[in-house]
Amino acid sequence: MCGIVGLQLRGDHGPGLLGGLISSMLIEVRERGPDSAGVALYGDPALTPAGQAAVSVLAGEVPARGLAARLGEIPGIRVTAAADVRVITAGVAQEQLTAAVRAALPGAPLLGTGPGLAVLKGVGDPLGLIRSFRLAGRGGYQAVGHTRMATESAVTVAHSHPFSVRPGLCLVHNGSFANHDTIRRELRAAGIGFTTDNDSEVAAAFVGACLADGDDLDKALRRLCQSFDGFYTLLVTTPTEFAVVRDAIAAKPALIAEGGDWVAMASEYRALSVLPGIGAARVFEPAPEEVHVWSR
């Protein structure tokens, strides 16, 4: 069991609306995943200023101030600490910032990269993590959250969700894959590296590879259905898209709610019940292997 929540806001909304809503949603799926929790935030003006490159890195032992100094002469560089994650932004090319972080913190897991994206994750009670991420006060236009009950690999920050292996792309998973090691070997042979032995990371890498091949997100997820054996409800996001897919027998729960100017997805209705206007929203269960994509 794991818990998934996600929300894409469209149109005008208050600056702190997203963080408050995704926090409330995540609390409702806390019991589904007491081991770890994580969120991806898109477009938080404070964490990731518009138009700037952004890297989220796991470096709890490095103070934010010391890290900025260690990264050297990068104009406009900023480091924000959220629990053990450091979100680094600067007005330079994304590749330049990513390379600088890799050089300054060799071996530190990169949790997410790409303009506008911040990935915060940690181990322990989701409620405590929501507080230490100061999630309720965060903003942006799109968020993905996950609470993890580990079944197949270790409980560490790097093993928790979301998995982000390509700039701007995030994936969260409820379920388990049976053939992930086979697909991991194929992806490794194609030159793709992995941070953990987690099965969900393979799905993230597979989708990333499909997008690199030129597929759109819909096609990438349909290819995933053909290649992956196992149980899955997946929520996959890019800076402009919000997508949901489930396995052939829909073994894991998923509910989608479409409001007037938002779309949300959650493992359980109680997480949707916190959304304003849920009473008037269209709520439905995605059918097996049906790919749903919303763009903004």
């Binding site: 359980e268 209705y269 109680r270």
Partner: protein, 240 residues
């Protein structure tokens, strides 16, 4: 631990009573529901998709869950009449023994799973595996039913007012399924059979009971087990 006080037995027959889930929590709401005197009618307010509401009731009481319910709403109960004024999560009316559970909305997966007796009614659509392992209860769905409806259902009746999804009645035992709309696909060992007078009468009675008057009892399709799957065959003895 919630202590059950004498106060919990003050809900008298006919007297209005509201139990607020947001204020009391699920455990206290269920303890107070179980303490109701026969004939009582109670509204459970602010369910907000919480799980396990009105489970294990044992008396002839009427419970209105006034909003969306989470998993297993009304499950394990007998004698009670439970209505959910909204959609219900997985396992609505799971293992129902008698009485009724009515969902005034859509039901998520595994509605009426393993239900032994009583009636589970879904006014909207039912998701996958509705009536899975049904053991004698009746499940009536006004709208469509998702894939694997009636999977391994052993006894009882399923009525689908709309269309049935893939693998209908897969590995059926002795439960019978009636479908008013189309059937996307039959599961292993499920077959369409001729509609007898007794079938029409049974569907007519169920239509009357549920108010599903969009269903024409003479035009439903009967699906039952071909009984090839669950009998051992002596000529295959060596393979066993």
């Amino acid at each position: 631990m919630v202590t059950l006080t004498g106060d919990a037995r003050t809900e008298q027959p006919g007297g209005p009573a509201v139990l607020d889930t947001a204020r009391l929590g699920v455990r206290a709401v269920n303890e107070r529901l179980r303490a109701l005197l026969p004939g009582s009618a109670v509204t459970v307010a602010s369910p907000a998709g919480r799980h396990n509401l009105a489970v294990g009731l044992d008396a002839d009481v009427s419970v209105l869950i006034d909003g969306p319910a989470g998993y297993y709403a009304g499950g394990l109960s007998r004698n009670a009449s439970i209505t959910i004024n909204g959609p219900a999560g997985w396992g609505a009316g799971e293992n129902l023994m008698s009485g009724s559970v009515r969902v005034r909305g859509d039901a998520s997966q595994s509605a009426a799973a393993s239900a032994h007796g009583g009636l589970v009614v879904v006014d909207g659509h039912a998701s996958l595996r509705a009536g899975i392992s049904l053991k004698g209860a009746t499940l009536a769905v006004a709208g469509d039913a998702g894939p694997f409806c009636g999977f391994m259902a052993q006894a009882g009746t399923i009525l689908i007012g709309g269309d049935a999804g893939d693998a209908l009645g897969d590995s059926l035992y002795e439960a019978v399924i009636y479908v008013a709309g189309t059937i996307r696909g039959l599961g292993a060992d499920a077959q369409v059979e001729d509609l007898a007078e007794t079938d029409v009468a049974a569907v007519r009675a169920l239509v009357k009971r549920t108010g599903f008057d969009h269903i024409d009892p003479e035009k439903v399709t009967r699906v039952a087990s071909a009984r090839r799957l669950y009998h051992f065959d002596t000529q295959n003895h060596d393979a066993y």
